[in-house]
């Protein structure tokens, strides 16, 4: 029922649709251009053959560390709590593991997003930092940095 699929130039507009209803932040053209070249790091989630979710991440090599950063991971409201988020997150964790040189997986979560917090904590993520005024146009503007160490 739940499957992951490729994001291609043919269907990338579906990702825009998804993100525009799932996230309060909007992403620029460059984001979508990069997605097309990121292979397994960007995936759609299909539920009964319909695109209902998407995950996009990238390798972050700053500070002499190799980390996997989750840029977006979300699914349509009507399709939550069905395990779709789990499938996407597991995919990310597996990518990180197979890479072999990834220290950790991390992401930002708006501090009032209890659902996401509960979701990520379930998988062993921990708050390592609070960034104030991380978001520019939305309230509250603070974000937690969540991380799961692999090594």
């Amino acid at each position: 029922m739940i499957e992951l699929g490729d994001i291609t130039p043919h269907n990338v507009k579906q990702l825009k649709k998804l993100n525009s209803v799932i996230f309060p932040v909007s992403y620029n053209e460059k984001f979508y251009k990069d997605v097309l070249t990121s292979g397994d790091y960007a995936k759609f989630a299909f539920y009964n053959d319909i695109i209902v979710g998407g995950v996009c991440c990238r390798v972050d090599s700053s500070d002499n560390r190799r980390r996997l950063y989750i840029m977006t991971l979300g699914c349509l409201a009507a399709y939550r709590c069905l395990g779709i988020g789990t499938v996407m997150l597991k995919h990310v964790l597996k990518l990180a593991e197979t890479d072999g040189h990834i220290d950790s997986v991390y992401l930002h979560v708006q501090i009032n997003n209890d659902t996401a917090m509960a979701f990520y904590k379930n998988f062993g993520f921990e708050v390592i930092e609070t960034k104030s005024s991380y978001y520019k146009r939305i309230e509250p503007s603070d974000a937690y940095v969540l991380e799961k160490k692999l090594k």
Binding site: M1, T8, P9, H10, N11, K13, Q14, K16, K17, L18, S20, V21, S26, Y47, N48, D49, I50, I51, V52, L76, A78, Y79, L82
Partner: protein
């Protein structure tokens, strides 16, 4: 002039022929020159002819015809000259002429196999069936050892319905065949032979033949199907039942097998049928056919239970064709109501409990709810409750904004609501979500054409057409008729009659080409033994222009020509080519200036294109022998109505059961003043639907025309008088109209037709006319948008007499309340708001 050459020259001549056959045209010409340069043989007919033939192959048509004619004149008794002349005519597609040439050639060489074969091809192509039979007989006599001889002759007899001869010849041939274990060609032959038995009505022979040769026939399904039908025809019920059951077992999704079985078992009541279908529903759990058939013959609570099961299952599976399967049931109002209530109940339960029924055990996945909403949107769209449909489709897209079908459905609803701008926008939105889907790509192009955005439509199609050629050219090459038809309709709306006609002629040419293309199959099929397919191809080609695509194209062409007749375009005003039909003077002026501007722009663009084109392209254009259709020339014709008749004829021949055929015929003949033909079209239309609104208006117009015409020929006038009485059902004209209005009280289409007729009959009765045509209090008026839009346009066109602005404005306002989405009824402000929505839509989606 002697036709016989001396040995040396004769040898050269033989080499010319050989070179021609091997396509060594240069050498052929060289040898021919050698003969012709001998003064004594400079006029040698057959050499001249051969030279001409070769030149024709090199594209030098004129010179070729010259030479061949000269050759023929010099040697009228030469089969070679006649044959060559025939070949030239054939290459010009003048088949009748070519046949004559071949016949002349045969006069001088009656057993020439090559000529006989060529002749037979032309004869079957032209459906000169008797000629074909005679030629094939000749060939059979000359070459009894060849398979094609036997098959060809029997096929000719078959087509002439001389079944006995056909069967006798086929049987003779069969006897000569050795039986091998797997021989597909022989299997095809047997099936063909069998089909002739069946067509001859020799059911018993047909069945015996099958039973005897069953083992050698590869196509098992065909065998069973024929066995079932023929057994039934022979009254062998047990056998027929057995075969039908076997067929169903093989393919439980074929409706024909079930209906065949019902016939065999002589099931007369719905209940008996339902029981039979139930048996198969149990047996073939995954097959839709018996379930859907059962829904046709059940009613009340039983129906409710079955249809509920069916729909629930499909909603869970998420099968979009669900509505398509259910749609035939909606003709029955009670069933429609049951379905509506059931699905509304599902949607309610799903929304509140995530269950289809409150006492279901398990929760449903979100997609079940999604498809339930989707179904409801389709349902209400079907019944043109467009506001409700719109509400549901919006819920669909809120629920799952990535569902592409949601956007296409919303586009369709907007189309039905007569807001084509938004419809096109949404269809393009759908397209952009999956640019690899050609179906949606085409849909989007089609919707662009509906808003007369031909350029965008072309751009859209170009994403899939071959690179390097313009999409328009490529689509023409690929005989993409839906595209060309929509283009024609758009040009016609824009008043670009010439362009519209160009498209219509291009489509017409596709049909001609398809008929032309048969040529290749006459020999191919015979060689490959695909005889049954061949026969059905011939029969299909015979009625090719009965195709709905042709109908659409012909109707557009007729409308274009009729409007040309009404508003001829002279050379001086060619650039003001407008269809003034239905436009006010102001609008006309605006349109004309708009067209002038557009034309200038187009010309500029054209110039640019021409500049950038390299010489290569030009050469290609030269090679293209087909004369290009020129929109300007197409409108400058003296006889538009006669041109219209050319498109009408095939409709009269092949689409006579469609009332529009006869309504258009009337339009043409009325303008031509042909009373008997008008009468004929009226009578034919009346036989289809005596209460058709347009027919009613036509009858009134006809009656008045007859009255006004004093100098009708006596005999004609007598016929017309008598028949007119029949048309008017013995009533006076006024009474006839009153009666029509009274009889069709509840139909807005009829009432407005009555009003139109009343205005023609009595222009001073305007109060009553307006009362009739502006009335909007009917049951289900919300489903009558097309008629209301037509009435509104007719009000502006003075079809109902001179109508005060205020009346028109009141009508518009009432309609805009009834049809809030419809663009026609929107005032300027709402229209510009729509435009804003249109432009903001694209931004929204990229947010």
């Amino acid at each position: 002039m002697p036709s016989q050459l001396p040995p040396k020259e004769n040898n050269l001549f033989k080499r010319v022929v050989k070179c021609y056959e091997q396509k060594q045209y240069k050498n052929g010409l060289k040898f021919a020159k050698q003969i012709l340069s001998t003064p004594k043989y400079a006029d040698h007919g057959e050499t001249l002819a051969m030279k001409g033939l070769i030149l024709n192959c090199l594209g030098k048509k004129e010179e070729a015809f010259d030479l061949v004619r000269r050759g023929l004149r010099n040697d009228l008794k030469s089969q070679v000259c006649w044959h060559v002349f025939g070949l030239l005519q054939r290459s010009e597609k003048k088949y009748d002429e070519a046949i004559k040439c071949y016949r002349n050639a045969l006069k001088w060489d009656k057993d020439n196999l090559q000529i006989l074969r060529d002749l037979s091809l032309l004869q079957i192509q032209m459906r000169d069936l008797e000629g074909y039979r005679d030629t094939r007989y000749q060939l059979l006599k000359l070459r009894p050892g060849q398979r094609a001889s036997w098959i060809g002759y029997s096929m000719a007899c078959h087509l002439l319905e001389d079944f006995d001869t056909a069967l006798a010849v086929l049987e003779e041939y069969r006897k000569t065949q050795e039986v091998k274990s797997y021989d597909y060609e022989f299997s095809e032959f047997l099936l063909y032979q069998n089909s002739v038995y069946r067509e001859a009505g020799r059911n018993k022979d047909c069945l015996e033949h099958l039973e005897k040769y069953e083992k050698q026939i590869c196509d098992q399904v065909s065998i069973m199907e024929v066995k079932a039908i023929v057994s039934y025809n022979l009254g062998l019920k047990d056998k027929a039942e057995k075969y039908y059951r076997q067929l169903i077992d093989r393919n439980p999704s074929n409706n024909d097998y079930y209906t065949g079985l019902v016939k065999v078992l002589e099931l007369s009541t719905d209940e008996m049928m339902a029981n039979l279908y139930s048996e198969f529903v149990e047996k073939y759990k995954y097959s839709h056919a018996p379930k859907l058939l059962r829904l046709q013959v059940t009613s009340g609570d039983t129906f409710k239970r079955y249809v509920g099961d069916y729909i629930k299952h499909a909603l869970r599976r998420g099968s979009p064709p669900l509505f398509l399967n259910i749609r035939p049931l909606l003709k029955d109002k009670t069933k429609a109501k049951i379905i509506e209530e059931l699905v509304l109940d599902y949607s309610h339960n799903l929304k509140n409990h995530s269950k289809l029924l409150t006492d279901d055990e398990n929760k449903e996945p979100p997609t079940t709810y999604l498809w339930t909403l989707f179904f409801l949107a389709q349902y209400y769209d079907h019944f043109r409750k467009l506001d409700v449909a719109m509400k549901y489709v919006e819920e669909v897209l809120d629920h799952t904004p990535t569902l592409i079908e949601g956007y296409t459905l919303q586009a369709k609803i907007y189309k039905h609501a007569d807001n084509l701008q938004l419809a096109a926008k949404l269809m393009d939105e759908a397209r952009s979500l999956d640019t690899a889907d050609r179906y949606i790509n085409s849909k989007s192009a089609k919707y662009q054409l509906k808003i007369d955005n031909i350029e965008k439509a072309e751009e859209t199609c170009a994403m899939f057409t071959r690179e390097g050629v313009s999409a328009i050219e490529n689509l023409n090459e690929m005989q993409c008729m839906w595209f060309q038809t929509e283009c024609a309709a758009s040009f016609l709306r824009q008043g670009k009659i010439g362009e519209a006609l160009k498209k219509c002629h291009e489509i017409d040419k596709h049909f001609t080409d398809i008929i032309e293309d048969q040529f290749d199959f006459h020999t191919y099929c015979m060689r490959k033994m695909t005889l049954k397919a061949y026969i059905s191809m011939l029969r299909m080609e015979d009625i090719l222009r009965s195709h709905p695509f042709y109908f659409k194209c012909a109707v557009l062409a007729i409308q274009a020509y009729v409007s040309l007749h009404d508003n001829p375009i002279t050379e001086t005003e060619e650039d003001t080519e407008v269809n003034s039909d239905g436009l006010t003077a102001k609008e006309l002026k605006k349109l004309k200036s708009k067209q002038r501007r557009a034309k200038k722009k187009a010309e500029l663009k054209e110039e640019k294109k021409a500049d950038s084109k390299d010489t290569n392209d030009k050469k290609k254009a030269d090679d293209n022998a087909e004369p290009k259709l020129d929109p300007k020339k197409l409108v400058q014709i003296p006889d538009p109505l006669d041109q219209a008749i050319k498109f009408l004829r095939p409709l009269q021949d092949w689409s006579a059961e469609t009332i529009d055929t006869h309504l258009y015929a009337f339009d043409i003949y009325y303008r031509k003043g042909k009373y008997l033909l008008m009468l004929q079209s009226l009578k034919r239309a009346r036989n289809i639907d005596s209460q058709n609104p347009q027919l009613h208006i036509n009858i009134v117009k006809f009656a008045l025309a007859v009255k006004a015409k004093a100098d009708l020929n006596k005999a004609v006038s007598q016929v017309v008088e008598t028949e007119l009485e029949v048309l008017l059902e013995g009533m006076k004209l006024q009474e006839f109209n009153d009666n029509f209005i009274e009889r069709n009280k509840n139909s807005i289409a009829h009432q407005s037709a009555g009003a139109e007729a009343l205005n023609i009959l009595n222009p001073s009765a305007s109060d009553r006319v307006l009362q009739l045509c502006c009335n909007l209090s009917y049951d289900h008026i919300e489903t009558e948008l097309p008629v209301c839009a037509k009435v509104y346009k007719n009000l502006q066109k003075d079809t109902f007499g001179k109508v005060p602005e205020s009346v028109i404005e009141t009508y518009r306002k009432s309609c805009s309340q009834l049809f809030p989405l419809a663009a026609v009824f929107q005032d300027n402000q709402t229209a510009s708001e729509t435009n804003e929505v249109v432009s903001s839509l694209s931004e929204l989606s990229v947010k």
